[in-house]
């Protein structure tokens, strides 16, 4: 939303998705190594691994693309 001296909303979005994705992905890997006693439906699809992975990648893309450093670069190019 805002460029220049302000952080973009997309940067916060990237951080949010990335951190959540990382936590879910790690939990999924841990669950594969240590399967829980009470499994959820479709456990064998390991949704937390691939869904966590997708969120992590999306989050990284947003966080890097709209990082403060990139914003500064974009601003100096425009000025």
């Amino acid at each position: 939303m805002k460029s220049g001296s302000h952080l973009s909303i997309w940067f916060f979005t990237g951080i949010c998705l990335g951190v959540n994705g990382l936590l879910i992905f790690i939990t999924g890997i841990y669950e594969i190594a240590n399967p829980p006693a009470n499994k959820v439906a479709l456990y064998d699809l390991h949704a937390n691994v691939w869904w966590g992975g997708i969120l992590l990648v999306l989050g990284l893309i947003y966080a890097l693309r709209f990082s403060p450093a990139q914003e500064r670069k974009r601003m100096s190019k425009n000025s």
Partner: protein, 585 residues
């Protein structure tokens, strides 16, 4: 009470692990951090109440949609789709898309060009203080009431799903919302709404994906629903997966409504009223940086709104097809009052509104569960923040600065905005506790809301498109429409047989009655406005510049290629909307 004790309970729908709690705590920390970060960017009235009018189309569009994805939306409409089948999707499609496109292409230029801070502010410019006073006072009353009810609904959900204490949920969520809106104003609310939009999708999208895999795709889902409902001897089992083909008569679908109620009551009045005149959502678009962004924002919102049934309606339908109790028997959800009665609790019954958390618990293990619960909390908080920020603006500009102290300075407005945010939240907390004491209030709220929205649409649309509409016509029409709606509601309460006149059929359920009452009240508003306008003196043309069609020069937007123009994307969204109706006919 100890925090750990509040968060732990054995008799709950789901149990959170440490990673789930970490995800929830991270969310709260992030939204508060955003509020603190934006504090320094809300120094003027324009900054605090209109976010500096510098939002891009994407940010305004996502916030526009997110403010609507509130407390009762996710859980309530998933529950409604369990109860009424795919008919509930009408509230997302014909009950949203045409009106959002209408807002974008027809109404937004007027709102934007006249630089109003609010919808009641537009009424002041068009009809004078009478219409503004009726609209702003009723809106302020409704927003704090809705905010409190959302808060209470969230606390109940957290108790049912997680076993959290009601007071704990109410205090934590309300203090967080109060903090980030009071610090950063509308900009902070919008920032968080965009964040909440992504969280809602990230947390809820997995349920329909996994559900469809388990059900065997859409065809498998239809077959399972038909089989389950037939086994349970439910009337019209085939109608649960058809959008239009069962609307030929009132008795052939679970909602007791016909196509006229959906098209005219929902699509033409309630949806138009809500999406084009409810300041809660319109405020987000008014914060757009230029006219093209303001036109594109509702179109972007409409494109995503069309997808919301995937995370709200589909889980309800999947619940009909797949939910089983621990012994493997088909699980049948019941109305909330039945589920929450002592007998219902003893039998382990679940209410319709619990279908989404039940599906969440079915598919989501540690981590994903925390994200799903965060999605629900985000939905609740975005709705609450939307109500509070809209209340703050309407109070400051339309009630205080217009009716009480017209000479108030900009600096005082910002100070007042911060305090009124806190006061609005405190009143909302009071409302939440009031609802806790008298839960029947919740039954009346949707009706109360429709009292004001449907006639308001009649007033605003006549004001924009008909220059002969006079100030006296405007406020008397609004008042007559509102009073007639209240009158019809009271009539049916006193004499239930009156449903046959108000909603044209004794089969009409609550939602169907709302549709027809809205239709009649809007028509009454329009008729009274027209009659009184012809009997009274209109405003001269010179005073109607920038507020009425034909007298408002629409500023030329920058020249853009065809694929960047609002009209092109409106046509694309409209075409997809039509295709969806045909697919699910």
């Amino acid at each position: 009470m100890n925090l750990a004790l509040l968060l732990l309970s054995s008799n709950t729908l789901v149990h959170l692990s440490a990673v789930d709690l970490a995800i929830i705590v991270f969310y709260f920390a992030l939204v508060l951090g955003i509020g603190l970060y934006l504090k320094g960017q809300a120094n003027t009235g324009e900054d605090f109440f209109m976010a500096g009018r510098e939002m891009t189309a994407w940010v305004a569009g996502l916030a526009f949609l997110s403010a609507n994805l509130g407390s009762l939306e996710l859980m309530g409409w998933a529950g409604n789709s369990y109860k009424y089948g795919i008919l509930a999707a009408h509230w997302y499609w014909i009950g949203a898309i045409p009106s959002m496109l209408f807002l974008a292409l027809v109404m937004m230029p007027f709102y934007y060009v006249c630089k109003t801070h609010s919808v009641p502010g537009y009424l002041k410019l068009r009809f004078g203080k009478g219409a503004q006073a009726i609209s702003s006072i009723s809106f302020a009353f409704m927003t704090v009431l809705m905010s409190g009810i959302n808060m209470y609904a969230m606390a109940v959900v957290m108790r049912v799903v997680l076993g959290w204490d009601l007071n704990f949920s109410i205090l934590v969520s309300s203090l967080t919302v109060a903090a980030y809106v009071a610090l950063g104003g509308l900009r902070s609310a919008i920032f968080n709404e965009v964040l909440q939009f992504f969280l809602i999708w990230a947390g809820a999208l997995l349920i329909p994906i996994l559900g469809l895999i388990e059900a065997g795709g859409w065809t498998g889902l239809q077959a399972k629903i038909l089989q389950n409902l037939t086994e349970q001897h439910v009337a019209n089992p085939g109608s649960y997966t058809h959008l239009w083909s069962t609307l030929g008569s009132f008795g052939s679908n679970p909602m007791g409504i016909n196509w006229a109620g959906i098209v005219f009551g929902l699509g033409a009045v309630i949806a138009m009223g809500y999406w084009t005149t409810d300041f809660l959502v319109v405020q987000r678009v008014l914060a757009a940086k230029d006219l093209r962004s303001a036109e594109l924002a509702p179109i972007i919102g409409a494109a995503f709104k069309m997808c919301v049934p995937f995370i709200v309606i589909l889980p309800g339908l999947l619940g009909l097809a797949l939910l089983r109790d621990p012994s493997g028997h088909l699980l049948r959800l019941v109305p909330a009052d039945q589920a929450w009665s002592a007998a219902g609790q003893a039998q382990g019954l679940h209410g319709y509104d619990e279908v989404l958390p039940l599906m969440l618990a079915r598919y989501c293990g540690p981590g994903l569960l925390g994200l799903g619960i965060t999605a629900l909390i985000a939905g609740f908080m975005s709705g609450m923040a939307g109500n509070v920020s809209a209340f703050t603006t309407v109070w400051t500009y339309d009630i205080y600065a217009t009716l009480i102290n017209p000479n108030v300075s900009d600096e005082t407005k910002v100070k007042m905005g911060r305090w009124v945010t806190v006061i609005g939240v405190i009143i909302s907390i009071g409302t939440a506790y009031l609802v806790m004491q008298a839960q029947s209030i919740m039954d009346y709220v949707q009706a109360l809301f429709s009292f004001f929205i449907a006639p308001l649409f009649g007033t605003v649309i006549l004001g924009m498109l008909w220059k002969r509409a006079s100030p006296a016509g405007g406020w008397t029409g609004l008042l007559a429409g509102t009073l007639s709606s209240v009158g019809m509601y009271t009539w049916v309460k006193i004499d239930p047989n009156a449903v046959r006149y108000v909603a044209l059929s004794m089969d009409a359920q609550d939602q169907a009655q709302n549709m027809f009452r809205a239709l009649w009240s809007c028509l009454i508003c329009i008729i009274v406005t027209v009659v009184v306008s012809y009997m009274t003196k209109p405003k001269p043309d010179s005073e109607l510049k920038d507020v009425v069609y034909g007298l408002t020069p629409i500023p030329k937007t920058e020249r853009v290629s065809w694929y960047q123009s609002p009209i092109f994307w409106a046509v694309v969204v409209a075409a997809i909307f039509v295709i969806l109706q045909i697919i699910f006919w």
